[in-house]
Amino acid sequence: MAKTYLHGKPVEGVIEVHEHVSPASSYVKVLSALFVLTGITYAVSFANLGPASLPVAMVVALIKATLVCMYFMHLRYDDRYHVFVFLSTIIFVAIFFTFTMFDLVSRPRLNEEQDTFFRVHQGGDWNDAQRAKNIDKYPALEVPGVPHAADAKADAKADAKADAKAGDAKAAAPGKAP
């Protein structure tokens, strides 16, 4: 290798590639792991895990993302500063999520304290109207095993009445009472 100079001084290793070159087999292994994990999420989605399905899906997705970042994106062998840039982005995303959620969760209580009343989404009136329109339009589209939407609507009304009796202010909103 020819001797090179930087600012008039001889330096070494200028054109050396410091990049880690991963063997092709490691990429094949990572790809197989990603396929297996995709199969797991796909299979788990049919298992009706209920409230646990979201955390399970997210954990699997996080493992997949970590594999992609570490091996495909070379973060494992890369300059640590790139890891820092990436992780600090994640930290800011976490701040964004957490503070928005704080706001959303605490807002109803604050509104109550200040006697602020917002008319929001009173049990899906718009949707009920749309559904009623559909039922009239497609009365023949009743599918066995699926409760008829009209019955469901009646149930919903009965529920609303029960809720109103129970003293739920939302269900007893004006315009909703029969």
Binding site: Y5, G8, L31, L34, T38, H82, S88, T89, T100, L141
Partner: protein
């Protein structure tokens, strides 16, 4: 053995034939140039993550407030097409990583071949997206105010679902925004991959210079990364 360049001369201090032809005069060393480009790419990827995070947060908020609506609407998306697209995108990420590796070891033929594979899988992804979108559009499932509730409800009943209560047009608005923005990223990815392919065919990349291949690879892996989260959240919710 070359003599040290005189002070005050313009141009690279490092002797020229030792560096690659794309070495810019304002960098001290090719390594510095590569590191600067890569750091810039990572900062850009950070902004991309922040941009997508807004949509993900919107999804979580809607899911928190209207869980039944989100879960019911999610049933209408085709899990199998979503799974196929996941496999396609993961494979394209793999071929992209192999393309970067080929450039690193100086295997010209493999580099070109892997780039062509990556572009092919990206096009496959867009074809599947087209099938999915046209399927939704043909049943009146449009984003936001264009959502045709009557046709969508008929479609839901035909599929053995009860018409989704709540605000399904909000879910599909999110679905089209998230997958649409991701799809735009795939299209941009195809564009930059074609540019890299053209440069690779000219033989511009090798063990001493592969920064563009690597940075396009990083971008492509990020597109993959976003899909890794989109797929379970939108298609596999339950």
């Amino acid at each position: 053995m070359t003599s040290p360049p005189a002070h005050g001369t313009h141009g690279p201090d490092v002797e020229h034939d030792a560096a690659h032809p794309f070495f810019q005069h304002h960098y001290n060393t090719p390594g510095q140039q590569a590191a600067a480009a890569k750091l810039g790419m990572w900062v850009f990827l950070g902004t991309e993550i922040l941009m997508f995070s807004g949509l993900f947060l919107a999804y979580f908020i809607v899911r928190m407030f209207y869980p039944e609506m989100v879960l019911g609407s999610g049933e209408l998306l085709d899990k199998t097409w979503g799974g196929v697209n996941t496999v396609v995108l993961l494979t394209s990420s793999f071929t992209m990583a192999m393309a970067v590796r080929s450039a690193q070891v100086g295997d010209q033929a493999k580099l070109v071949r892997n780039l062509i594979f990556t572009i092919f899988f990206a096009l496959c992804f867009m074809v599947v997206k087209y099938i999915e979108y046209s399927g939704k559009f043909s049943h009146g499932i449009f984003p936001g105010k264009y959502f045709d509730y009557e046709r969508a409800a008929q479609y839901m009943i035909e599929h053995g679902h009860e018409p989704v209560m709540g605000l399904p047009h909000i879910f599909f608005g999110l679905y089209f925004c998230m997958t649409g923005l991701h799809g735009v990223h795939v299209l941009v990815g195809i564009g930059v991959l074609l540019w890299i392919l053209m440069r690779a065919k000219k033989g511009q990349f090798g063990p001493t210079y592969f920064t563009p291949v690597e940075n396009v690879g990083l971008y492509w892996h990020l597109v993959d990364l976003v899909w890794i989260f989109l797929f379970p959240l939108l298609y596999l919710v339950k």
